[in-house]
Symmetry: C2
Subunit: 315 residues, 2 copies
């Protein structure tokens, strides 16, 4: 057996750690989850303790991979992470290596996730694929010609801030109409609140208690009951998801698009209208092979497993 690899997926609210044998990465040897603390030093402590706890449960860990939501440069420094507001220019790679005493690779979380899907998930044997994570924000990872794409600085794969409507709502990033204003969990909530305030979502408002309190989960719940207003909101939301995917396909021409992130828990409720809208939004859709749009095969563990595999592949 090769040395075990730990993969840590740092999210905005929780950190997931898994241990896998790189030869059999879909079998999780150990897993543990802790809340994400605020600040770089606290995050360093939390990940260190998580790795120590995993190590205690499995014996010994050979390498550690960490996925972080943000721009991670080629020296494994987190330059900025919108969902880690108190952390800027933090040298996680160096710091983790000192703390843990093993080889540590640090990368963007969606970059880790696409590698997990390519090596062990829905994108196995697919040389050209894009993974899009639909969560609070939007991230992406790109594999092209079988190679993980990092870009010149390690920052490749940030379609969430692709501007898709310059007249659209302001984004915390300082611009207007970024894709994640429409096609993320926050986007779904905003589209739904607009519809609720316009009086189009009686059942959803009933579930939420107040139009201003409407969130994605209320829309999903009402849609599962068959509520027409909720289904219309999801159609509108899926159209925006499809628009961004079509933009990515026009540029990258992948053979497969994998969706990850919390919103894929919506299942067919999201996938069916996304696929339906996509066909009319991609360039020359009638003259190119169809691009399957599927859910991550590794589910919410794609990022952690991918981080572990990246660390093992680098070692």
């Amino acid at each position: 057996m090769t040395a075990l690899a730990a993969g840590i997926d740092v999210g905005g609210t929780k950190i997931l750690g898994v241990v896998v044998d790189p030869e059999d990465p879909t079998t999780i040897v150990a897993a543990q989850r802790v809340p994400t603390p605020r600040g770089g030093d606290a995050l360093l402590d939390a990940v260190t303790e998580l790795v120590r706890a995993l190590e205690t449960s499995v014996g010994a860990i050979g390498v550690v991979g960490v996925g972080i939501p943000g721009l991670v440069d080629q020296d494994d420094v987190l330059r900025v992470g919108p969902n880690l507001p108190a952390v800027v220019d933090y040298p996680f790679g160096t710091a983790f290596r000192e703390r843990l005493g093993v080889e540590v690779s640090v990368d963007n979380d969606a970059t880790c996730a696409v590698w997990g899907e390519h090596r062990a998930g829905a994108g196995r044997d697919v040389a050209d694929l894009v993974l899009v994570t639909l969560g609070t924000g939007i991230g992406a990872g790109i594999v092209a010609g079988g190679r993980l794409q990092h870009g010149a600085n390690g920052f490749a794969g940030e379609p969430g801030h692709m501007i898709v409507d310059p007249h659209g709502p302001p984004c915390p990033c300082g611009r207007r109409g970024c894709w994640e204003r429409f096609a993320s969990g926050s986007g779904l909530g905003r589209i739904a609140r607009d519809a609720a305030l316009a009086g189009q979502l009686d059942r959803v408002v009933e579930l939420a208690g107040d139009a201003e309190l409407v969130r994605g989960e209320h829309v999903t719940a009402a849609a599962h009951e068959g509520d027409a207003g909720a289904l219309a909101v999801i159609d509108r939301f899926a159209w925006w998801v499809a628009l961004g995917i079509a933009n990515l396909v026009n540029l990258l021409d992948p053979a497969l698009v994998v969706l990850g992130g919390g919103l894929v828990e919506m299942g067919a409720l999201l996938l069916a209208p996304t696929r339906a809208s996509y066909d009319g939004l991609v360039m020359a859709g009638d003259r190119r092979p169809p691009v399957p749009i599927v859910v991550a095969g590794l589910g919410e563990q794609a990022g952690a497993i991918g981080a572990a595999l990246l660390a093992a592949d680098d070692a």
Copy 2:
């Protein structure tokens, strides 16, 4: 000396053919230009005659590369080309090889151009670069990690139909608000005519004769005279150019953006406001290394030289 390579760049209105020594590709051994005929068979004849004429002038040609504006698949079949309206599913690769009796590679024109720039132009020694051609429409070529990116089907690099404003003007492709509705030569003309019809472009209208006849070249001419209205139109146009470039940089993280196509003849008039707007449109512009935006080093020959080099590299 290695065998000479011919590179043919098929445009919507003209075909440029060059012959280079692949070891010294910036020295043009021979060049010739003919009009683009309508229809696949006529195009086949025209390119064949052009290669024969080049061959007569230089002695012998070892390989031929052809760049075509459109989706060229991995079997060198042109699936569809918006600027070659009468040509669909045309097997140019097979047809050229039969006619010419030498190795022929066929690729998208902007893909050829980025390879020319990477091997012999502004992007020499740059492993990650994007070339964007701003002409009647918009094309792109991508080099990532030193490798030319084709995508799964050969269709990578079509940002012209990235939707950047769903409320925007209709596009001949059937959608609305594609980037090339704003940031191509046609986009500049449209933005200028809108301003002219709104009475904001007296000098430009004077040059064009009528507001409905305003085109990009009238704006450029008035701007060179210092006309404020014309300069404002170019600023607005450059903002759209910069928006799409920022979207590409967010996704691909290149170290360099090279601009080609007819519009770069505007020079600093276009480049200066594009660079100025770009800084505010890219994600985390203050936390990433600046990305130079430069004009193609091989000028309008980038596509033809790149096609020749691709053919030589493939051989």
